[in-house]
Symmetry: C2
Subunit: 218 residues, 2 copies
DNA sequence: AGGTCAAGACGGGCCGTCTCGTCTCGCCTA
DNA sequence: TAGGCGAGACGAGACGGCCCGTCTTGACCT
């Protein structure tokens, strides 16, 4: 009847071996041909140990992805004060993650899986997207306070305008995310978000006015 | 050694039955649980007839999607001359397709599959994305000719800025594509597009900022 | 003693291929 | 013009194989 296992007795060695094996295998054969059985064998682990702690193959890969990118860095948003410079750095850093040889496949796998797996959606929302997006929104709000971004625009919408084009091109595979593109994109997006001409309204004047379209809550 | 079947002898009735069955089943059980066998049974068709004409489950769904949306409409881009009105209509029509009960699942399935299936990428590029994007680029060029969109920006980049935020929100499931959002997005994006309105003090401070083309502003 | 562990057996579902007999064509000959 | 012939697509479904997710066993570790 004990439906949920006891986390305090969990073998950390097995957990790490599973994540490592998953990361290796997805790089070797891709997500489609990745199997739980292969992960278990590679990790020297019983299948049950995987099924005990993860609800799906996608969840394993998601944890493997988190471990990988946590090794790499930890989400820092540049803030020099020069919006053009900061924006270019932000987009470049984001794009770098999307095309990183170790990260690209897991990223695609996770974004693929959330299209059909509501549980994973919530996982992604809380542990990856949430922190990232709320940090980005804070960054945007500070730029709005400096009157560098139109204060009348909902930060959540600005986020979409910033990241959207990048992910669109990457997911639909309509073109490369090279330096030229990032340059052109920065130049195109900058005026969109830049505070429009004339005096900018103080943030106080719009505080709480734009009903934020329900999204990820921070 | 005859590797490829003869298209002239293909049964159109079977083809249509397969596409219909695929469309029905994906709506009933989703793409993950959709099987070739089930499609064959529902369509009253031998499995071999499916494998003979389609290379993968994703390809079947892609054709079913094309049939569905061809029934619905045929990509018309509004062009009243008023950029704000046209833009809002374009975004609204695009969003309508993404949330249409009959189309959403197939759309997600196809965009999911292209992450792992190079053959389907090419198929999508040629038969869905290609026509759509080239039509959009033409629309953008005409607006640039009317000095309504900054002529210095690559139309392909403008496409990304227009469609990107929409797809980003839809694929990452960070919020609904409701009327409020489309309104806010249009308001945020329009300024780019519009070749710069009056003087913007910030723009001078940004190195490499886009050359401003004097435009017609409302 | 109770719970996790590695190892692997187990039934089941779907894969992609194949085999079978039928049906529809286009072609050849009388 | 009629009739026979071969090629190939067709419906149906058998087949081996892979992987699924569960279950069993005995060792190990608190």
């Amino acid at each position: 009847m004990s439906n949920s296992p006891d986390p305090t007795r969990r073998s950390n060695a097995s957990r790490q071996a599973i994540l490592d094996a998953a990361a290796e295998l997805i790089a070797e054969v891709g997500f489609r041909r990745l199997t739980i059985e292969a992960i278990a064998v590679r990790a020297g682990v019983g299948k049950q140990t995987i099924y005990r702690w993860w609800p799906s193959k996608g969840a394993v890969v998601f944890d493997a992805l988190l471990a990988l990118q946590h090794d790499a860095d930890g989400l820092r948003i540049p803030e020099s004060g020069d919006l053009g410079v900061d924006l270019r750095l932000l987009l470049r850093e984001t794009a770098a993650g999307l095309v990183d040889p170790h990260l690209e496949e897991p990223y695609r796998a996770v974004l693929t899986e959330i299209q059909h797996d509501p549980v994973l959606v919530e996982e992604l929302r809380e542990r990856l997207l949430g922190p990232l997006l709320s940090a980005t929104r804070d960054w945007i709000r500070r730029a709005q306070d400096r009157c560098q971004i139109n204060a009348a625009t909902d930060p959540a919408v600005v986020v979409d305008v910033l990241y959207g084009p990048l992910f669109y091109r990457w997911l639909l595979r309509t073109g490369p995310l090279d330096e030229d593109y990032l340059q052109a994109l920065t130049a195109a997006v900058l005026p969109v978000i830049t505070a429009s001409s004339g005096p900018n309204p103080l943030r106080a004047s719009v505080e709480g006015s734009p009903p934020v379209v329900a999204g990820i809550e921070d």
